[in-house]
């Protein structure tokens, strides 16, 4: 188990070095993306002006306040509370995000599924687990909302955050087929019969 500090964006080589149970802290830039953002990008043919190559995206739709564009808030939005959401709803967008936009890191909670694991292996990507429901803390890792795109989808816009010390996050799925979720789920299913027997359930 190693710890990595990654200045975003990163290369394929940097991402392939990461293994499950390693921890990662990100610096500089992070993009926020959500269900509606990706439905519009991949089902409705919309494009973003952002260059996501080598970058990390977090599954999020933040609480923000419109304050008008200033030097301190170049997007016009001040962050209020920024956390994460359940990733598995966005499972089918992992591959297109990587293939069409060159995204290398997906951050969220609850894990992604087999198709994403395959995409991470094939194309060189990882899934970093951030703890759901701890947004007050995560907000302190965000310095600024630099830019926003596709903002008609607000709060599910495409957000560009300037970050400082975003982590530690846990490498939960790596580019070598490793997934902590697959391992935990298999082990939990193995315990099902024992738990039902303890409840007096007849087989």
């Amino acid at each position: 188990m190693a710890h990595y500090e990654l200045n975003m964006p990163v290369s394929e080589e940097q991402v392939r070095k990461l293994r499950i149970n390693d921890t990662v802290t990100l610096q500089q830039t992070l993009y926020g993306i959500r269900d509606a953002t990706q439905i519009h990008m991949f089902d409705h043919g919309r494009k973003t002006r952002f260059d996501l190559k080598g970058h990390a995206v977090i599954h999020t739709a933040p609480n923000v306040k419109w304050v008008g564009e200033t030097k301190e808030h170049p997007s016009g939005y001040a962050p209020i509370c920024i956390g994460t959401t359940t990733s598995s709803r966005m499972e089918r967008f992992t591959r297109p995000l990587m293939e069409q936009y060159g995204v290398r890191i997906v951050i969220g909670k609850g894990g992604l599924l087999a198709a994403s694991a395959k995409a991470f292996s094939d194309l060189g990507g990882v899934y970093l687990a951030i703890i759901g429901g701890t947004a007050a803390l995560e907000t302190t890792w965000i310095e600024q909302i630099e830019e926003v795109d596709l903002d008609d989808l607000n709060p599910e816009s495409l957000w560009k955050f300037r970050i400082k010390g975003f982590g530690p996050l846990l490498v939960a799925m790596d580019a070598h087929g490793g997934s902590l979720y697959t391992a935990v789920n298999a082990s939990a299913k193995d315990k099902r019969a024992g738990v039902l027997a303890a409840l007096g359930v007849k087989p």
Binding site: I80, G132, A135, K191
Partner: protein
């Protein structure tokens, strides 16, 4: 006691914001207990971060979680309370909308097919408003629950049959916990509805999921069942955030209702670890806030 709708509006605004920022003491105590029993290093680290987040939210006067949820207001009206029911409902909606615009909060509520967000946290039939009545009390209580989607997306109903017995109920609950895995943001409160009609059964599962930790089902049979399930649920090893360990659930809560001779319904609704709720109580002396 006469209740002024304007006061209700103010309270419903305040309740939404309070609920999002301050976790009830019973949930904090639940965290302490899970933390003291956690044997897995990853699980322990995750619980530590969750506990730290509660403090950061309080210190920075921020929301605990980014998900502002679907707003639910549970109103309990005492016998001696005089209130215009329609005005009360309108005041609740107005308070919810004002919290969203004035704080501001992320409106997480959209039309189900157009997906249009009015940026008010309100829409058709939302906020959800439940109204109940209690005898003798000179009080009106409003409980506010911002129900997060990570846990709400993990909801199930099974119309089991009498021949499947209580074994079907127990098996279904365990299978739902496995199916939810890390998606419902564990440690969770597993809410179980048993009996009733299909809709009542699902409603009971939500009542169970949002009940304070340490409370018991009023029906002794329900209490027995929730104690049995609570004892074994953490043996599954799903763990905090679905990453393994002993902290899958704070507890399993059960609520029951009578059902039909041909029916054996069971519903499961999950409450995430950000098990938020706030309460305002109106008495002749004024409005008091709590959990």
């Amino acid at each position: 006691m006469k209740v002024d709708p304007k006061q209700v509006e103010e309270a419903c605004k305040e309740l939404y914001i309070r609920a999002l920022k301050m976790l009830p003491p019973d949930i904090k105590e639940g965290f302490k207990q899970l933390d003291s029993r956690e044997s897995d290093a990853t699980g322990k680290a995750i619980l530590g971060t969750m506990i730290r987040n509660i403090t950061v939210a309080e210190d920075t006067n921020n929301l605990l979680c980014q998900d502002t949820g679907i707003p639910i207001y549970n109103v309990t009206i005492g016998t001696n309370v005089a209130v215009d029911g329609y005005a009360l409902k309108q005041a609740i909606i107005k308070g919810c909308e004002r919290a969203t615009k004035e704080h501001p909060l992320r409106s997480s509520v959209v039309h189900p097919t157009t997906r249009k967000n009015e940026h008010t946290s309100c829409g058709r039939q939302v906020p959800v408003i439940n109204i109940d009545f209690v005898p003798d009390a000179d009080t009106l209580a409003i409980e506010m629950i911002p129900k997060g989607s990570g846990s709400e997306n993990n909801s199930w109903l099974k119309m089991a049959i009498p021949a499947e017995g209580i074994d079907a109920i127990k098996t279904f609950v365990i299978d739902c916990v496995l199916e939810a895995g890390g998606k419902s943001c564990p440690p969770v409160i597993v809410g179980v509805g048993v009996g009733g009609t299909a809709d009542l059964c699902v409603h009971l599962s939500k009542v169970a999921a949002t009940r304070p930790l340490g409370s018991q089902c009023e029906d002794p049979e329900g209490a027995k069942l929730e104690a049995e399930l609570s004892k074994v649920v953490n043996q599954l090893g799903v763990g905090a955030q679905g990453l393994g360990g002993d902290s899958t659930a704070f507890a399993v809560h059960v609520e029951t209702a009578a059902t039909h001779i041909t029916m054996n319904p069971v519903a499961v609704n999950m409450q995430c670890h950000s098990a938020r709720r706030a309460r305002a109580t109106f008495t002749p002396k004024g409005v008091g806030y709590g959990y």
